[in-house]
């Protein structure tokens, strides 16, 4: 899906243009050249939901910086990853592994309120009682390159526990949990957040067999080509926005439970995981 289509879908389109126009004028008055930046967001949710979450944040950012930020959607994770690789976005919200893969981006802010880790679930009443029982079994994951639910678990199982297993990718976290609960998979990879959202009747059939090492969650990054003062302008603007109640509520949906500044060093642990070996390149 293109960015133009996204704009078309925006409910307050006239308002959006109006605001853009205002800031354009303001930028003239302050003798600063107003610029437009393209923003990309990893499609963990459907496009509509992403738009709903990010529109208020970006418009606030525009207000605070005097620059325009345009959201550019992507059809699925592989196409997002392709766009990232081509540096199509000026700003990008991505998972930590994406950041490791795309060092041309610099982290601006991240969530300081939680950490990212994968969980491995199995049937509560099933015959898998320990990780070692998974030897030679079939495990389900939502997608090959899902950071917590797939890459980190597979990396740990193999690197840490020396388990060999069959991997099957069943598109969504829910499918993973269902397959596992119904006994089609010996175990399945997911994350805590999606697991907790499952229906009780699923959850009651499952048990968490293993949790992975915790890593710093998704950063919002700015491309290296963006000047340092703009980088700082954006970082300050977001931090100031996060200080407001409105900003706190808006950012929580990203999810940025507690917004804080992000550094390159925050993602060293992810880098150390050497996930490249487990990354499956899209066809």
């Amino acid at each position: 899906m293109t960015s133009r289509n996204l704009i078309c879908k925006y409910n307050n389109l006239p308002y959006f243009f109006f605001v853009s126009a205002i800031f354009y004028l303001l930028s003239f008055s302050s003798h600063t050249l107003a610029k437009q930046y393209v923003v990309g967001v990893v499609p963990q949710f459907n496009t509509k939901k992403i738009y709903r979450i990010w529109s208020p944040i970006l418009s606030n950012l525009s207000e605070r910086t005097g620059h325009t930020f345009v959201l550019k959607g992507s059809e699925d994770i592989p196409s997002f990853e392709a766009n990232l690789a081509k540096s199509e976005y000026d700003l990008a919200y991505m998972n930590p592994y994406h950041y490791i893969m795309n060092p041309q981006y610099r982290p601006v802010v991240r969530d300081h309120g939680r950490q990212l880790y994968g969980i491995l679930v199995t049937q509560k009443e099933g015959n898998i009682k320990s990780i070692n029982d998974l030897q030679g079994k079939t495990l389900h994951f939502p997608a090959p390159n899902a950071l917590g639910a797939s890459l980190m678990i597979r990396a740990e199982l193999i690197d840490k526990f020396g388990i060999t297993f069959e991997s099957k990718y069943v598109n969504t976290h829910s499918s993973v949990f269902l397959n596992t609960a119904l006994g089609l998979a010996s175990a399945g990879g997911g994350v805590q957040k999606t697991y907790s959202r499952q229906k009780e009747q699923i959850k009651e059939k499952l048990t968490i067999l293993h949790e992975t090492e915790k890593v710093t969650p998704h950063p919002l990054t700015v491309h290296q080509r963006i000047p340092k003062e703009i980088y700082l302008l954006i970082q300050n603007a977001l931090m100031a926005y996060a200080a407001t109640d409105e900003g706190k509520a808006a950012l929580k949906k990203v999810p940025f439970k507690q917004l804080g500044v992000a550094n390159k060093e925050d993602y060293q642990s992810v880098s150390d995981m050497k996930l490249d070996a487990y990354y499956v390149k899209p066809n």
């Binding site: 069943v170 969504t172 829910s174 119904l182 089609l184």
Partner: protein, 609 residues
Amino acid sequence: MKITAKVLAPFIFSFLSLAVCVQFLYFPYLENRLYDLESNRYKAELAALSPIVAEELFISDLAKIHSILNSYDSTLKSREQLNHKPDNSISHVYLYSKEGLQLFPVNQQTSALAQKDLTLVQPLLFENTPIGHLSISTNINKSLIESQINGLQLALLGITLFMLIISVWWNEKVIIFPILSLAKAAKQLTKGNYNYHITSNSIDELGDLSTAFNTMTKTLSETNNALNKSLAEAKQATQTKSLFLANMSHEIRTPMNAIMGLSHLGQLETNPNAQKEHFRNIELSANNLLTIINDILDFSKIEAGKLVIETIPFDLSNLINGIHTVYKLQAEKANVRLTMQQELEHPYLMGDPTRINQILINLLSNAIKFSAEQEVDLAISSQSLGDNLHNIQFIIRDTGIGMSEDTLAHLFEEFSQADKGTTRKYGGTGLGLSITKKLVDLMKGEISVTSAKGKGSTFTVSLPMTLASKDDIKQSNEQLLSESCIQGVAGSKVLIVEDNFINQEVVKGLLDRVKIHHETAENGQRATELIETSSFDLVLMDIQMPVMDGYQATQKIREAGFNIPIIALSANAMTEDRKQSLKAGMNDHLAKPIKPQELYQTLLKWLKK
């Protein structure tokens, strides 16, 4: 069977047959059909779901499958709830892996499953490899179908009943009611109630029938009334005629009695004066009788349209004087004072003196008869109507008993007299005034009467007549000859052909008085023989005779070449008879009874030639 039942039976039978057919043929079919429809629907839905589910199952995207099946499950639920399926009968879809592991729903709903009576299974194939199966456990709601059928049955019953009632009502109104009212009307008609009228608004054949029936009733009623009226009239006429006959009998017998009695007494009487008195009375009675008979004959003639009014010159003064002379005596006898006024500038007129005489005599004799010891006045006047035409008015006024209005109304009708009492007291045939009226009509005149009971009556007769010249009268007068005038033909020889001895005697006597010689033949045969042998100046020929009648005899005489005048002397007094006589070759016709004056006049006329 009553007409109602006859007309309605086919309708009721049709409706019932239809209802039975639908009940026992259509409804069972419908029930199966609904059942099949329902199960086919589930089958079709499962078949439609299967490729998507199979594809997702192949990649184990159970979340997507669950989302699809949940959506289908809730569709089933809401649909079946809309169809009033009880909650424990709601259908559910199940998904099983090829190993038989239940993949949807997560928990087995065993309690619900117990209620299901139909399980449809749809195998799931991916690239022709079975990878599991979908199934629907459902309860095709038989009771729902049955209740639907029951609803339909009730509706059908309702509609059938409704249609039946409508049909019955319609038939009742449109066919049966009109027929019944026709039948009722016909019944009324047989009872003689012609006033019964059918009210029908329909414009169909039944309406036409009703209208025709009404018309028929009306016509029948009118015909019946007319018949009743005719019957009453006929009865009245018969009664009147019977009465008339009784009167007539009485009227004829009275003078007859006198004639016969006096004849007998005359034969026994030796005193010539007394004999003469008897003869005079006999003549009087005979005249009365003749009047009566003439009345009857005149009436018959008028009725038959055979009375011919003559138009000859005559002197009205003479006629009036003659009447005056005759009736003065009669009036004196009845103690009636008869006066007469003539105001005629020009008494010579063209008309029928005989009939005018008859009219006046009728009216006068009535006036005298009904005015005992009173007064009768005859006034004659004339008014010019232009040219030669005059209106001659005769007014006969009496101060007699007069008449009621009721009597006046029927006065000129035949066979009517004022009342039976009148007949008894005054006699008469009751034909006089009727004849008078008819004669006046024939002369294109008018007759009217005013009367008051006890105060007398006034009859007014107006006759239009043209004036005649004095010469016409003179010529006519010459014909009025007295006995003395006939002396000029004395010594002529006449053959009397007559079979009746007394009539022979009468004619002989009359001829002897004027010294005319005569011979007698008793029939036509004899007459022809005598003509051959002797020489005669004239023949007086009776018509009805034995051996050979008058017509045949005359023809023979003419055939033999004799031009001798032959005069019919017959009791056949009608105009038709006269014509027939002339046709047979006779020269003139005299009606019996013979009036001497008439006989002499005719003899004079023909002998002089």
